[in-house]
Amino acid sequence: MTTTHPPARTGAGRLLLIGGRVLDPASGVDDHLDVAIEDGTIVAVGTDAAGVFGRSAADDGASDDPDIEVVDCTGHWIAPGFIDVHTHLREPGGEAAEDIATGSAAGAAGGYTALCAMANTSPVCDSAAIAELVWRRGREVALVDVFPVGSITKGLEGRELTEIGQLNACAAEVDFFSDDGIPLADTLVMRRALQYAKAFGAVICNHSEDPDLTAGAQMNEGAVSSVLGLAGWPHEAEEVMIARDLILAGGIGARLHVPHVTTAGAVELIRLAKERGVRVTAEATPHHLLLTDDLVADYDAVMKVNPPVRTASDVEALREALIDGTLDAVATDHAPHAPEYKDQEWEHAPCGMLGLETAFAVVHTALVATGRMTPLQAIARFTTGPASVRNVGQHGAALVAGADANLVVLDPEARWTVDAHALHSRARNSPFDGRELTGRPVHTLLRGRFTLREGVVADAAVVA
């Protein structure tokens, strides 16, 4: 890799990415093109992009202009920065597991330029004050753009609606609401939330689980839970709730997002609803696209997650749905937990897995390297797909002149072994620890500034 000069100023100057394969789902481009960036904005994309800086494409490498940094991307993919619509950054209140700085660093390492911070913080993100705090803190750290998620109900209590209008109007412009892991069991409240949010163009995202069917549940219900003696999460619990929500959203014409879909039956329900014109988007997590419930056999609580990892046939159904677009987005549900909480008996350990730094590699290894998805399709599930779920500004938009330079440069050939202790997250609960994966971000650029360079995360702009 050739880096001729360190950038004189961060976020400014001239940057030339040459020799890479541009994968831009928004424009449908999949071609070897150069990208020229100036002052955080893309100024040219093409075989002659260097021309905008008065250079010819031929004099790659040795530049004699100290104001131009040339990055050789030969063999690499250049894509829009990734967007995660489902991240737990834990700040405020859960800083022992993660904060916005460490979570943002994990995001940058994973190729992300935009993260949607879930509302189940302490205090809950059910007011404009908390939403603006999270949003502003993201700006200060400046490794990714943080888009707060508001809760649907005050205090995640499932009764009174959060001030959706206030959150929508505040600086964070929240248009996406979720009570995260707590299902909105009251059908009437769910219906009113959908009705109310529709007026603001906002999206309701409900955790798909019928709580009556999952009292005490510890893992997927099936042959494995039967032998392990753990109370099961039946797949019906997820499907019953999704069916209800799809019926309600369809009736109202409101926008619904289904988080972390895990069962073959749920995929079928969403596919059918989309065919019928229901305004629904849906996501799958990397862990549900790869892991199966037999991994619970050691009772290592790192494998404990809600919704649980399911069976091989569910994994296959999710993969098919991600390929055909029934599932719009890969979302990490990155859920850091301090080790002392995961070092408990399975029953007492909290649910959740890390995901930001391994998401691309998992999807690439399972679906792209195996030839089931084209690189462009896979990139779409990390960019345009999540951008269709909610408003994330310019993230995921086409790589054209005038656009913000939010980019990731990926090495699809990189083989690496996940080491939970080497991740940027403050927590260690990666279910992929010790796995060999292929594909890894090399550089991440947020508005032209390197947040990840040569695999090294930039310092947070402001350290708390």
């Binding site: 042959a223 002392e340 399975w346």
Partner: protein, 365 residues
Amino acid sequence: MTQQPRHASSPAADAATTPATTPATTPATTPATTPATTPATSTATSTATATRVAPLHHLLGIDDLDAAQVVHILDTAEQLLPIATRERNTVPTLRGKVVCNLFLEDSTRTRISFDLAAKRLSAEVLNFSAKGSSVSKGESFKDTALTLDAMGVDCVVVRSGSSGAPRQLARYLDVPIMNAGDGWHQHPTQALLDVFTMRRHLGDLAGRRVVIVGDLLHSRVARSEVQALNLVGAQVSVVAPPTLLPPEVERWGVEVVPSLDDALPDADVVYLLRVQRERMHRAFFPSTREYQRLWGMDGRRLRQLKDHAIVMHPGPMNRGVEITGEVADSDQSVITEQVTNGIAVRMACLYLLLAAPAVDEEAGR
């Protein structure tokens, strides 16, 4: 016990509760895979010609054992049983060893049984009880484990309401871990003592038919029991309200039979599981009356059994729900004998775990 004559007893010595198991029949209980090289003699029988039995490192669940290991444990228990009934009922075998009973869930009966087993082998016993998770006191499960490690215990007997806790403990500690019951998962010593009891009454269990009745869903005993019975070649049928059958139970290697009455005439063993009355409040079954009528063992059903068939229960019993007093106190009930045998079986497990060389001295663990 003080009434016993002052000499070592043969396995038949406690014939008051045990139908005679003459030494000559004992070799027949070892499966054909163990070559019966030892000829039966009038005074002594070598029941275990322990050829190539893999050593035990932990006893976490029956699914970790193979058939030879199960037979080896039972044969060892057979030789230890007389010790429990003679006047001087301790042996010095585990003198200087410290066994910790880590009971994170109340179970006085099981704890006492393990306590006696360890003491009869002259081990020191530490009782460490904590209600619920130790985390409720601000200590993680791992910290509890490391504390025990630092105290230098030689073996941990762990009872927990959380499925899998013993396996987690085995990851944190280097000493042998014995599972004394974890959640709904496993209760291996219960299964071993049950199979031991069955073997003493029925001899070789291959092809014998055992009917397990009741709440299999929430039962750690059932999970261990089925695995142990499969290992010794018994045929297992299960009968229960459909709501109390675990998911995909057929894959356990059992036959699900629809009616208790149909299953009884062919049964060699009827094994009744405890049914908690609280279950009916969560709609598992309508009433104890209906449960008793459809799945309870009563005098009428007792008379459908073959003469040699036995009735078992892991205790504590709910008389009047899964079993009537008439059945519990009948000649075919071996429920109190299960308790006696439990001590010998737990002694056998402690002996095999603790008299073995330390794990790191064994090549290729």
